[in-house]
Amino acid sequence: MNLDHSILTLLILTPLVGAIVVALIPDREDGSKLHHIVALVVTLLTLVFTLHLPAHFDYATFGRFQFEQNTDWIANPAIRYHLGVDGLSMWLVVLAGVLAPLGVLCSWNAIRSRSRLFFSLFLLQQVAMIGIFVSLDLFLYYGFWELSLVPMALLIATFGRTENRRRAAIKFFLYTFIPSALLLVGMIWLYARTGTFDLPTLQQLAATHAISTNGTALLLCSLAFLFAFGVKVPIFPLHGWLSEAVQEAPTAAVMVIAGKLGLYSILRFSFSIFPEQSRQIAPLLIALGAIGIVYGALIALVQTDLKKLASFATLSANSFIVLGIFTFTISGLDGGAYQILNESLIGAALFILLGLLYERYGTYDMRDYGGLAARHPWMVTFFVITGLAAVGLPMLNGFVGEFLILSGAMQTFVAHHVLWTVVGTTGVIFSAAYMLWMIQRVFYGSLGLRPEEVPGWDINPREHVELWPLAVLFLVMGVFSPYWTKGIETYTTSIASRQIASAAGTPVADRPAAQPTGFVDPNLGAAALGKQAPATNKGARY
């Protein structure tokens, strides 16, 4: 039997069955780790299954989905059980597979009581996440999208750190749910117009302008989509929920709370169904992305709470991706998509490390820390590696993504975009500042208050198992990026090339390779650039 036709279902079912199994094992007071072990086995199994995808993926197939499954589910409305992946979603599925065992491992000691609840919710969250990545039916996707909210909200509400947890959970839920109500309106509208929820079909209809001739309605609908996704990312200034949720959520949950779901959704749905509307709105999003980068970094710079810092760092990092994908250049899209993977891994590592600190010293307040480098040489090593990956040190993964994003933004050759690229690039300065500042406050200098009172221990073997794979991935993904980007390109080329066709109206190949007269100093002649309409298509070359 060929696994290719059922692998995606298997991927969804494995954690689901796992969740049910975990839910059936009763809680015991004696601190048994049965739930942990079952969850670990399930997540590892899922990881193994996800690896089937890159192993059997056809990298030569562009713009088409693979491992497809397409069966009837509900006749009316026409909802199909349609799964499939392309290079983009494939890697995200693998990412979800990688993060899950890490989540279980980092909860090993953090979750002592009510582990049944924790791990069933955690596995449900995993189901939803994989489901989001593999769904090709808009409705099915929406189902998983909403499904992802509940376990997350409950995880925050139940396993939150402080008394503020319920508030944070509700805030998280509301912030995500209300916009997704708009998403649902948009979906229903689409359905009412087209009678289908099938993404490939909708994509074709969109390409032939067959969804609607009402431009305003389409734009509004695309905005509804974008708004829902943007809050989930979160895009500045829609990040109101992020800080509290990150502060409260247990490490395993925080690893998947922001970024990839929203960004993937923008890439997959906004860009596919509303190609022109997305480009219409792109200047705004580029601006917001650039502002978000600086904004998040600057606020992170003045935080004293580690998790709050990390939350704004997340905002900043996700803003890079937003900036990248809305440039609609291959470079920006590739970099953005790649950076989703990177940022998730880096964020996971960062939150795991913060969790380790919290496990030992019970606080996230930086002022209570200091001088830990001597006590935890391994921990500081991983912290520094993670920090460097986050600030985009070359040879580590963050750099490749950031570089492609920003260079993609520059390639748009629109004065306005160039300006925002410059603004966004300052993010590399600020990100270094807050990361190093954090590392210094926690690890350098003299021993802090908490560490003086509480004995800590360096990283134990289990924690090594969590962190080494991530550290190695940082390096490998920073050095061998083509392995990932070639998969991602099966997606991005279709998105980016369409823009060129629609915007320039001239075939790419016709353009001369270098055209000195068209060059304008962007810093000096930004205004002049606006007049040179053809110059805006310079990115076409890439």
Binding site: P77, L174, G195, P237, G240, L298, I299, L301, V302, I330, S331, D334, G371, A373, A374, P377, V391, L393, P394, M395, V400, F403, L404, L406, S407, A409, M410, Q411, F413, T421, V422, T425, T426, V428, I429, A432, A433, L436, Q440, Y444, G445, S446, P455, G456, W457, V479, F480, P482, T485, E489, A513, A514, P516, F519, V520, D521, P522, G539, R541, Y542
Partner: protein, 701 residues
């Protein structure tokens, strides 16, 4: 030439880093140093072999090694590729040679330190990145080395991380470098946008293919941005502030990274990109002015410093200014020449200073030195060679390189050229003054240190803060808990270390000696024709710099007589500097203090380094943090972002209270609402008619 061997040049140090970095803490010290030295020596030997190959007849003057792709997307690809030409070769020689010597020196210098394995791991990491930097065949790979050396620098400056000042200095270095990188990155983005590649050969080829008259425009933007990067890395105004602070690192680090190699990366980069810079006269002018200003500015600060390493740090900034100035007047080979000689003598200066500090068990303040020349003669003599070299005393190496720069500046002509020359000349005098000041204060006069205290104190290094000695780095937690503050280690260290002022061990002075020889003769490869030489150095680099716009411009008129005259003038200036120092610090030691009291304002200004750090703090850092905290964190995030959500939530809740108010619990009021509602409903039905209603679509389509 075997490709594999070439690949080994950078990878071996990296392997050394991995070995020492992961399992080094379990190694005995001897094994750590063996690994570190071996993995630096072998590349140095390979470079030697490469050198001989390149010198051999029939060898290409440049070639490229291409490896696996690093980033490959549609329309843009960058590979792991190394380009080797004569410029690279010189840099390779400096990096591996000086690097190896400093490694050797460190074995002795760091012998007693905790985190020995860590130190060598970082040093090897630095070597790796520095080699990548000079070997890179594309901007992007160069950037790998560029950032990587920054990282290594960060780690090494913060080596004594217990000390807040060290940690701060490391952070500061990294962040200021990042500002430079910001420019570098933008330059790269513009390059990609315009040329579609970051490959040196590709980009420079395209630039050379541009019409000859085309200068400026976007090229100016790119060059200015590149120069921002160079200014960060090579500590030029306004980004030089990190370098003096970087002296918090162990002295060998200062020698290797913050004097000989890393800080010259900016100069190297400008030289490497000369094709671009040649297209932008405006940028070149900026480069020259900034370089010259930096040279002068740093030199003036150097005159009043008391910390021996800080004097050297400012002199480094100043000398880097000379190199940048050379680049700015398109005398790239002169810049590289000075880079090389500077690597020799400045590394030597630092190492010798380290030896002094070592001798005085950690004292860095020159006011507490004096009369050391008899006590530590090897150090004294080697240092003397270095001081003469840096001051440009004939025939020490510095003389040739510095004079070449001043000469090239002069013949550039024009008001700018002459001004720059004049400033450069004055700077040479100041350099001579403060270097001899250091020389006199350290080695001559009455010993001002407390011999008794030295004899009884333990032999910790300057880099140790007594209270914060970094102990137990490789101990597990329990040991930390039990052994705080680690007395046993101290005792052991004391027992092992000779007391009192002492000459350094052989493993330290042998590198000093080698470098002293190099400082002396290093300049002889570039003896100008005016002095009867052939300037072989310039000719060696000709294949590299012969391309580009400068090569197309008419060469400025040269004259041997002029060159000799200028050399004589500069020697005179050096002599004046020497005499002032001699009088102030040897003959009449009180003069300096009196002058300082007389010109109190000026002295204060210099003593506080023109308050530049404070100005940056007040004008940039504090406002930025305040802005982040209050405007962004408070106003935008608190009020607008969170506030909008809160207002919406609160408003909704308020409406909820209103809805609740309907619910008074009284049946009569309920009936009232019902009646009211009924009236409204009736009114609506009677008076409001839906204008259109469509019955076109069905659910079951």
């Amino acid at each position: 030439m075997n490709d594999t061997l070439l690949w080994l040049i950078p990878t071996l140090p990296f392997a050394g880093f991995l070995i020492n970095g992961t399992i080094g803490r379990k190694f005995p010290r001897a094994l750590v140093s063996t690994v570190a030295l071996l993995f630096t020596l072998v590349p140095a030997l390979i470079v030697l072999k490469l050198w001989m190959y390149m010198k051999s007849a029939g060898a290409p003057d440049h070639f490229t090694l291409t490896g696996a792709p690093w980033i490959a997307i549609s329309g843009y690809q960058v590979n792991f590729a190394f380009a080797i030409d004569h410029l690279t070769l010189i840099m390779l020689g400096i990096v591996t040679g000086v690097g190896f010597l400093i490694h050797v020196y460190s074995v002795g210098y760091m012998a007693e330190e905790e985190g020995y394995w860590r130190f060598f791991a970082y040093l090897n990491l630095f070597m790796f990145f520095m080699l990548v930097l000079v070997l890179a065949a594309s901007f992007q790979l160069l950037f790998v080395g560029w950032e990587g050396v920054g990282l290594a620098s960060y780690l090494l400056i913060g080596f004594y991380f217990r000390r807040d000042s060290a940690a701060n200095a490391g952070k500061k270095a990294f962040i200021v470098n990042r500002i430079g990188d910001f420019g570098f990155l933008l330059a790269m983005f513009l390059l990609i946008a315009h040329f579609g590649s970051l490959d040196f050969a590709n980009v420079f080829g395209q630039v050379n293919a541009l019409p000859h008259g085309l200068t400026g425009g976007f090229l100016t933007a790119i060059c200015l941005l590149l120069f921002v990067g160079a200014a960060g890395k090579s500590a030029q105004i306004p980004l030089y502030i990190w370098l003096p602070d970087a002296m918090e690192g162990p002295t060998p680090v200062s020698a290797l990274i913050h004097a000989a190699t890393m800080v010259t990366a900016g100069v190297y980069m400008i030289a490497r990109c000369h094709v671009l810079f040649d297209r932008s006269p405006f940028t070149l002018a900026v480069v020259a002015i900034i370089g010259c200003a930096t040279a002068f500015f740093a030199a003036t600060i150097g005159t009043v410093q008391h910390d021996i390493k800080r004097v050297l740090a400012y002199s480094t900034v100043s000398q880097l200014g000379y190199m940048v100035l050379a680049c700015g007047v398109a005398a790239y080979s002169a810049g590289i020449f000075h880079l090389m000689t500077h690597a020799f003598f400045k590394a030597l200066l630092f190492l010798a200073a380290g030896s002094v500090i070592h001798a005085l068990s950690g004292e860095q303040d020159m006011r507490k030195m004096g009369g050391l020349w008899k006590r530590i003669p090897i150090t004294f003599w080697t240092m003397t060679a270095a001081v003469f070299a840096i001051c440009g005393v004939f025939p020490f190496s510095g003389f040739y390189s510095k004079d070449e720069i001043l000469y090239q500046t002069f013949i550039r002509g024009g008001a700018l050229g002459y001004t720059l020359w004049a400033v450069g000349l004055i700077t040479a005098g100041i350099t001579s003054f403060y270097m001899f000041r250091l020389w006199f204060k350290t080695f001559f006069g009455e010993p001002r240190f407390d011999e008794a205290a030295l004899a009884h104190g333990h032999g910790a290094h300057a880099d140790h803060d007594e209270n914060l000695a970094p102990v137990h780095l490789h101990r597990d937690t329990h040991a930390v808990m039990l052994a705080e503050p680690g007395q046993p280690e101290h005792d052991k260290a004391q027992a092992a270390h000779p007391h009192g002022v002492h000459e350094s061990p052989a493993v330290m002075w042998i590198p000093l000696a080698i470098l002293a020889i190099l400082s002396f003769i290093g300049g002889w490869v570039g003896v100008p024709a005016a002095l009867g030489g052939h300037n072989e150095f310039e000719h060696f680099l000709e294949p590299v710099f012969a391309t580009g716009a400068t090569a197309l411009l008419p060469a400025p008129a040269t004259s041997h007589a002029l060159e000799l005259l200028l050399a004589a003038i500069s020697l005179l200036v050096v002599a004046i500097g020497f005499f002032i120092a001699y009088i102030f610090y040897y003959r009449k030691p009180g003069t300096a203090a009196a002058l300082a009291a007389r010109f109190h304002g000026l002295y204060n200004l210099l003593d506080h380094k023109y308050w530049v750090d404070e100005i940056y703090g007040r004008l940039i850092v504090s406002p930025l943090l305040g802005f982040s905290r209050l405007a962004l964190g408070g106003l935008v995030d608190g009020l607008i972002v969170q506030g909008t959500g809160a207002t919406l939530a609160g408003g909704t809740r308020g409406l909820g209270w209103l809805a609740r108010r309907m619910q008074s619990g009284n049946i009569r009021s309920y009936a009232g609402w019902l009646a009211f509602g009924a009236a409204v409903v009736i009114a609506i039905v009677l008076f409001v008619v839906h204008p259109t209603h469509t019955n076109t679509l069905t659910l079951s389509r």
